[in-house]
């Protein structure tokens, strides 16, 4: 028996060309079903495979399986986003949303019809962009904090006047103090980035920084934001990000901008 895997919902009226990307099972064609101005992007999946203990077990324990599935899921949504010469607004669905038949799918679209329409209206003409910052050079950052921080300069001055033995004893305390101040400076820097990006975005959502195992980077992530930007002001937004990068690079940080993403952080259904 086959079911329908739902990737995303967008407004109908776009190009009715077929999808090049295959479905989540790497076999099924991706196609759309129209429902009163909404368009569901779906593919057929074998129900007995996706509703089985084997898949449930893999979803719990097999990280490489999960990674592969997430990439396949995302690839379909990214193709659905690409209109002729523009980025279409859409609502990405939670991974693993499957319906037993078309009637069930239609009933759900009908049930949430107004919420979908409202959300799509809210997102129309806007794109999600990701901005992440990494601490690439901790020493450089601490150095910049030492230079900017009056309290650290004062303590360093006091230590310079002490006999060598005393200064040696004070060093550990001084280093702890510098680390604490560096952490505070990092928080302030994140606040500053949020504020600056907010001037070029409709909304900014902060997420916890991702671990090194997920990023595959040696440098720790220290800032993780998603920005909702008007399509007409993307260039200004990216220019602003480039300027911010210039500012923080001198302090030992790097900034990464990615997008446009499906509006994962902003496509929430209002109750």
């Amino acid at each position: 028996m086959e079911g329908f895997y739902l990737y995303c919902v967008r407004k109908s009226g776009g190009p009715s060309v077929g999808f090049a990307t295959k479905g989540i099972d790497e076999k099924g064609e991706v196609f759309t079903r129209t429902f009163q101005g909404l368009e569901a992007v779906i593919s057929r999946v074998p129900l007995e495979e996706f509703d089985s203990d084997i898949v449930r077990n893999k979803a719990r324990n097999d990280l490489s399986w999960i990674k592969n599935m997430a990439v396949l899921h995302e690839a379909v949504i990214e193709e659905a986003m690409r209109g002729p010469g523009e980025i279409l607004s859409l609502i990405p669905l939670k991974f693993g949303t499957i319906f037993k038949d078309e009637h069930a799918l239609e009933a759900t679209l009908a049930e949430h019809y107004e919420q979908f329409q409202e959300t799509l209206d809210r997102l129309t003409g806007k794109q999600e962009w990701g901005v992440k910052a990494y601490l690439t050079d901790q020493q450089m950052f601490e150095q910049s904090v030492k230079e900017d921080n009056a309290a650290i300069r004062k303590k360093a001055g006091e230590m310079a006047g002490l006999p060598e033995g005393m200064a040696f004893l004070m060093e550990e305390e001084f280093n702890d103090f510098v680390s604490r101040e560096a952490n505070k400076a990092l928080d302030l820097l994140a606040e500053g980035l949020t504020e600056s990006l907010g001037r070029y975005a409709e909304a900014v959502v902060l997420s916890p920084s991702l671990g090194k195992e997920l990023t595959g980077k040696r440098e720790p992530m220290v800032f993780n934001a998603a920005c909702l930007v008007r399509s007409g002001t993307i260039e200004e937004f990216r220019e602003a990000a480039r300027q911010l990068l210039g500012e923080i690079r001198e302090k030992g940080l790097d900034l990464e901008v990615s997008g446009p993403w499906p509006a994962y952080h902003f496509a929430t259904l209002e109750k």
Binding site: F50, D51, V55, R56, N57, A59, R60, N61, L63, I66, K67, A70, V71, H73, E74, E78, R82, G85, E86, I91, P92, L93, K94, F95, G96, T97, I98, F99, K100, A104, A107, T108, E111, H112, Q127, G130, K132, S207, L210, G211, K212, E213, L214, T215, G216, K217, S231, G232, I234, E256, V257, S258, P260, W261, P262, Y264, H265, A267, T268, L269
Partner: protein, 98 residues
């Protein structure tokens, strides 16, 4: 409108971006006809816990997974027994001299 260049390629960073979004976000629609594939949330939490514990251990310079407490305590016992034997001999010697 100008054609927006898609900046994604599936490199390591973007894989993290994809996992973060696809597994953590996305609109949930309720309904009894929905078939949910297992506990994805649980998995992401697991990954994060793993990252935290390994990182912390490395940070603290602890390589606890390389030491075998059974073997090392055995070695310690043998050493202690040896020491006790020496002390007992010395006590005997002192007693006989007294």
């Amino acid at each position: 409108m100008t054609q927006q260049q898609m900046m994604h390629a599936t490199n390591a960073t973007n894989l993290a971006d994809i996992l973060e979004r696809v597994l953590d976000k996305g609109v949930v629609i309720a309904g009894d006809i929905k078939i949910q594939i297992a506990d994805i949330d649980l998995l992401t939490i697991k990954i994060r816990l793993l990252v935290a514990s390994v990182d912390k251990a490395l940070e603290m310079g602890i390589n606890w997974w390389q030491t075998d407490p059974y073997l090392s305590s055995k070695a310690q016992d043998a050493e202690n027994a040896d020491r006790i034997k020496k002390l007992e001999d010395e006590v005997h010697k002192l007693k006989s001299e007294a």
